[in-house]
Symmetry: C2
Subunit: 219 residues, 2 copies
């Protein structure tokens, strides 16, 4: 199956929305791809034709098995390039997403697998997301909850869901990265903000917007 860059981006976004929301809608996908619902409808017809998605007028979109496989291959490439950029070229985690968005579209299995090998077949990327293997299989995510829903006080950061430079720069500035251990001091109900403390540093408060995007596990 030969996909255009645009088609690959649709597949990837559909996969992401299937993971994080329930039901992929025309409008939701348009928002995710920063395009218009009308464009999504057009592309949906094309991807249905290629048997990558199930789609009926007004009934939403979902990936077929083949579509899912395609998505996992794109995600594999994306995450491997992110590893490369961080580990070999010394980029920081907030810089790599955009570059990987471009590099991921170079479709060569040989390149992908050689790159993986060169990096020591990593299983998580710089944002804590798992990397599918050459067959498209992904190691089960360790059970992780977003910080705003955590039940226990002492936690370790396992991943970040929003890859925007803005969020990642903010976290870096606050000293939060993968593996950071933190403690919840207080929850403020009026705006769902949370006061947290890292090690012996002074406590500080983060908004719900931020805590929603920090994935953690009890420690």
């Amino acid at each position: 199956m030969n996909l255009s860059v645009a088609e690959e981006n649709y597949i990837k976004s559909i996969y992401k929305l299937e993971e994080t929301t329930d039901g992929v809608t025309t409008t939701g996908l348009a928002y995710e791809l920063d395009t218009k619902p009308a464009s999504v409808t057009d592309m949906a017809k094309k991807l249905k034709e290629k048997k990558l998605i199930d789609y009926e007028k007004y009934q939403g979109i979902s990936l077929t098995a083949e579509g899912k496989k395609a998505a996992l291959h794109i995600i594999r490439r994306h995450r491997l390039w992110e590893c490369f950029l961080v580990e070999k070229l010394d980029f920081s985690w907030e810089e790599v997403h955009e570059l990987a968005e471009e590099l991921e579209h170079v479709r060569s299995e040989k390149l992908t697998n050689r790159l993986s090998e060169f990096l020591g077949n990593p299983v998580i990327d710089p944002h804590g997301d798992p990397i599918p293997d050459a067959q498209g299989k992904m190691g089960k995510q360790r059970t992780q909850v977003s910080l705003d829903q955590a039940r226990t006080k002492r936690l370790e950061v396992t991943a970040v869901s929003d890859k925007s430079t803005a969020l990642l720069e903010f976290l870096t500035a606050k000293g939060i990265r993968l593996g950071t251990q933190l403690e919840i001091i207080e929850r403020y109900e009026f705006d769902n903000s949370i006061e947290i403390k890292i090690r012996n540093q002074p406590a500080f408060t983060i908004s719900e917007q931020v805590s929603k995007n920090i994935m953690v596990r009890p420690v």
Copy 2:
């Protein structure tokens, strides 16, 4: 200046033709890009508009200073990726050209410069071509002639001009790579083929087509 992939490929091909032929014609460029003269005319208008080429109807095409600079940046990226693929991912020289054709279009100065640094700022690529530096300056090619025009008997291979898999595989099979030292045994005038000998191996004959694409220097 923001160039599309198609525009970058035109600029690159124009640069190549300026180097290897005299005068860049519509037909020649169409042939190089595997497209039609009519398409070249269309694109020429666009690139003239962007001040990357000088172009007047029926008068041929040439790069402006700005166009040349753009070309050198693209070539830099292409050759650095070729080095990466060969040196780090263990690809052979006949496999890397096509992949680099895709990777070269990821436009990020930071990525390019970090990659160069990671590779130890190489100055020649796996085919023996010089790599422009971050400013677009290229180390003077060592004086090199194609094998079919060499004046002396004992020669060393410095570069290969045709990057097709077919030629490179042939050379590899014959034991010819960068740095290979060889001796001209005989020239056959009727078809301009050449009999050569490497080290102590038995001599063999190569066609003019091949010898034209092997660059050498006296040794």
